[in-house]
């Protein structure tokens, strides 16, 4: 979906067109859900958080200024919701990687052991670092987009991504030993 399509649908959704908003949800849900799943770590909770992010986005659609993409904006909303929710819950590493066993290995395209090792390492990263890694390395956002989503400096995000990647690599190498 192009930026023009997004703009047209956003304008219609602002006027109360539910179908237009549903089309936006349909188009952007893989990125938002992917990010929430990597960041929040638990499939069911992550989808719930992604739903909440979209519902909040619709309620606050008038405040969307179009300075970033719609997906970035909703990711930012989701990040803040998930971060606040995470503060209230102590999610254990066990729970974090349980969902990996529910995945279809063929669909994910990587061995289960590698996915578990990476998910464990991701869960151990600090919130900001994990969010930066999930956005830039998993969901394909640029560093500057991630900086806008996370409300952080560009240099900080770059550093989070580099260091986070190093830790994930280390986790894979440790697993081999």
């Amino acid at each position: 979906m192009t930026a023009d399509d997004d703009a047209r649908l956003i304008a219609a959704a602002r006027k109360g067109d539910a179908r237009a908003f549903a089309a936006l949800v349909d188009a952007h849900q893989p990125k938002i859900r992917g990010f929430m799943r990597r960041f929040a770590g638990h499939w069911a909770d992550a989808d719930d958080l992604a739903q909440e992010a979209f519902v909040t986005a619709w309620r606050k659609l008038d405040r969307f200024e179009g300075r970033s993409s719609f997906a970035s904006w909703v990711c930012g909303i989701g990040y803040r919701i998930a971060r606040d929710a995470r503060r209230g819950h102590d999610r254990g590493a066990q729970r974090d990687h349980e969902w990996l066993n529910e995945q279809d290995e063929g669909e994910a395209g990587a061995p289960l052991e590698d996915r578990i090792a990476v998910a464990r390492a991701l869960a151990e990263l600090a919130n900001d670092q994990r969010a930066a890694v999930a956005l830039c390395l998993c969901e394909g956002f640029s560093h500057s987009e991630a900086a806008a989503i996370l409300n952080q400096k560009l240099g900080t995000v770059k550093s989070h991504v580099t260091r986070g990647r190093e830790r994930l690599l280390k986790a894979l190498e440790t697993q081999d030993e």
Binding site: Q29, V55, A110
Partner: protein
Amino acid sequence: MNSEERLNRVLGASAAPAKDLHFTLLVMRRAEQERFRAALVRRLIWGAALAILAVAAGLPLVGWLAANPGATEDTALALGALGAVWALSGGARRAAFGRAR
């Protein structure tokens, strides 16, 4: 396959399905519930405000009628006229609430 390639493979794998109509439906249902709740709260606030206004206007009227028993018939007629205007404006109110919903 070295660690770099393995990591790229894990990170590159999609964590969410490309399209999931069920998810979209859940979002829209949740949004609809939230809008319904907001409309209900607006209605309750509107109702409470009207009740307060009615009491605020009714109490002095009762006092005045107690002091002037002869004006009861005129007051009843005036209240009836107000009620008719109120009933006629019902369509406008419904339209306003319809937009809010």
